[in-house]
């Protein structure tokens, strides 16, 4: 599934002026090309024309001059309705249809394209599975019966339903709280690694841009392209004072956002479970040497908290109530910046790395991140 199903999206001298508007264009002579299968994040302050630029791809807004092409075809040469059915569209408020069930929402575009009902049903199940929504549970629910994060997931798979080559996402995670946003971003990156769409992603949040982008287009007031490059290159070599100010003084620290937990070698934790003999746990902790604490997990291997060696003394079994909860859990897709921040604010400066099912797969330490920081520009792997 690693093949690219995306298409090349190109802006060629695209300008948008609104009739009766000021002399300043909303988007001014924009030219850049998004390679197939990449996430291009449009970022900039308000009034920089980032949403306008995105909407010119599916003709919600039409350019005054210049052209937008998808795999070489001018979008203006296709009927707008037909074009839009081939482009996934996700907005911040999600815009799920309240009178349709989850399955019916996802099926909207396939129905417009007159897919056969069995094919639609199969596709809906596949997509819900893909974002971790059990079809049996969620298929027949109405949007009002979903949490914010679940709605956002349905919004994303609805846009992917007819397997479009290009997807437009307008601040798709802007309306969820920071913790859920991080999870949704990670989940979306995992998904994108499988489906390889060409994605035009709008945000005003530089950190989100750095995390999500293969390439970032930084726009400034008046819809002028300030810089278009990979996140690493933009942070290492900002093209102008504007870009430098926009990405922030903490550029060095932001480069941490480019590294993922999965780029760092993980340490093996000393795992203990409730009810196991203390002597055994004590011995394993002693053998490991480097670690001062053992990690208590439940029967499904999910982290419950740290166990101090003092609580492993004497006979008897491991007492789960002695565990100090609050070990920060991180996903492989979490950025090193988030990992560092979580570790610095917890009592034991170790992060617990978990998989999609929250099962522990390893530990990450502040030291191991420091080693990555010392590596030269461009050496950090970029997913």
């Amino acid at each position: 599934m690693a093949g690219t199903s995306g298409a090349v999206v190109a802006f060629e001298h695209v300008t948008k002026r609104y009739p009766g508007g000021s002399d300043q264009a909303a988007v001014d002579d924009l030219s850049f090309t998004i390679p197939a299968g990449e996430i291009c994040v449009l970022v900039g302050p308000s009034g920089s024309g980032k949403t306008t630029t995105m909407k010119m791809v599916n003709r919600l807004i039409e350019p005054t001059s210049g052209r937008v092409t998808i795999d070489g075809t001018d979008v203006m040469s296709l009927p707008a309705v037909e074009l839009r059915r081939k482009i996934g569209y996700v907005i911040q408020q999600v815009g799920l249809f309240p009178h349709l069930t989850v399955a019916e929402n996802v099926a909207v575009v396939p129905r417009l394209l007159r897919w056969k009902p069995p094919r639609i049903r199969e596709r809906v199940e596949e997509l819900l599975d893909l974002v971790g929504l059990d079809p049996g549970t969620y298929r027949d629910r109405y949007p009002a019966e979903l949490s914010g994060g679940e709605r956002q997931r349905v919004g994303v798979v609805r846009a992917m339903a007819a397997d479009p080559a290009v997807m437009l996402m307008d601040e798709p995670f802007g309306a969820v709280d920071p913790i859920r946003r991080d999870r949704l971003q990670n989940e979306f990156l995992r998904l994108q690694a499988k489906v390889r769409k060409t994605i035009v992603f709008v945000t005003h949040d530089v950190d989100e841009a750095i995390k999500m982008a293969d390439r970032i287009a930084i726009l400034q007031k008046g819809g002028i392209l300030a810089q278009y490059d990979t996140p690493d290159a933009i942070l290492a070599r900002p093209a102008s004072e504007f870009v430098e100010r926009f990405v922030g003084a903490d550029r060095g620290l932001k480069r941490l956002s480019l590294g993922r937990v999965q780029d760092v070698p993980l340490a093996e934790p000393v795992i203990v479970q409730a009810g196991e003999p203390r002597a055994e746990a004590r011995e394993r902790l002693a053998q490991h040497g480097d670690l001062r604490y053992a990690l208590l997990v439940d029967e499904r291997h999910r982290a419950l908290g740290w166990i101090d060696p003092r609580d492993l003394q004497g006979d008897g079994t491991v007492d789960p109530t002695a565990a100090t909860p609050g070990a920060p859990t991180l996903e492989r897709e979490s950025t090193l910046r988030d990992a560092l921040s979580a570790m610095l604010s917890s009592s034991v400066q170790l992060g617990v790395v978990v998989d999609e099912r929250d099962a522990v797969i390893g530990l990450i330490s502040v030291d191991s991140i420091g080693e990555v920081l010392r590596a030269p520009v461009g050496a950090g792997s970029q997913s």
């Binding site: 569209y89 815009g95 909207v108 009002a144």
Partner: protein, 220 residues
């Protein structure tokens, strides 16, 4: 009204069941005709107003003024043109339902959240697909609420049309009851009219709930 008359003469009711049933049927028929025609006209007007925004002011102004005309006066105004006829009665009844329904249909269509409309456009639905598949279903609870008000109002107004020789149950109240000082007919007519209004209101509410299961859905 003679005071030696018993409040309700049950033998009259039993002897006139046929007539009472006929008047009830007539009442229902006049109501249904008025609401159905009123709905079709209002629906057309609401769609026109949405297409040509400029119409909204004049249409709502005219309908607002019409609504303030007392029903009795409206029937009287129509007499020179259409006489003491069912047509006069229906013209007045339809006018009143239109006033209520146009506003509610528009309010219903405006209740569609902007993000839902934006998603529908962005996903490639045509204007008519958006109207029939998205906007009208979402507007349905508000539209049916309008139909309930219009129906209950019409059931009440039908009794007044007895003054121009129509009237359904109003015939029992006015012609048999008031004109002939016969209390039983007034009670029968009034009670049946109220029962009809309550029944229609509840029936439409149940219909709306059945048509829009999603409107009761809430997060667990």
């Amino acid at each position: 009204m003679p005071s030696d008359q018993p409040l309700i003469q049950f033998d009259w009711i039993v002897n006139n069941l046929g007539e009472i049933g006929r008047r009830l049927g007539e009442h229902i028929e006049m109501t249904v005709i008025a609401v159905v025609i009123g709905f079709v006209v209002s629906f057309g007007l609401a769609l026109l107003i949405r297409r040509y925004r400029g119409l909204s002011g004049p249409v709502l102004a005219v309908s607002g003024v019409l609504y303030t005309v007392p029903s009795l006066a409206l029937f009287a105004l129509l007499l020179p043109f259409t006489g003491l006829s069912l047509l006069s009665a229906e013209i007045a009844l339809v006018s009143y339902t239109v006033l209520i329904l146009v506003r509610n249909i528009l309010a219903g269509l405006e209740s569609v959240p902007p993000d839902v409309s934006e998603a529908a456009v962005g996903m490639g639905l045509t204007a008519s697909q958006r109207l029939w598949r998205i906007e009208l279903p979402i507007a349905l609870p508000v539209i049916v609420a309008g139909v309930r008000i219009a129906t209950v109002t019409t059931i009440g107004l039908v009794t007044v049309t007895s003054l121009i020789g129509q009237g359904g149950l109003g015939y029992l109240i006015v012609v048999v009851g008031i004109n002939q000082f016969f209390a039983t007919a007034i009670y029968v007519g009034a009670l049946l009219s109220v029962a009809l209004a309550v029944g229609a209101d509840l029936g439409l509410l149940r219909l709306q709930r059945a048509l829009t299961p999603w409107s009761q859905a809430r997060a667990e």
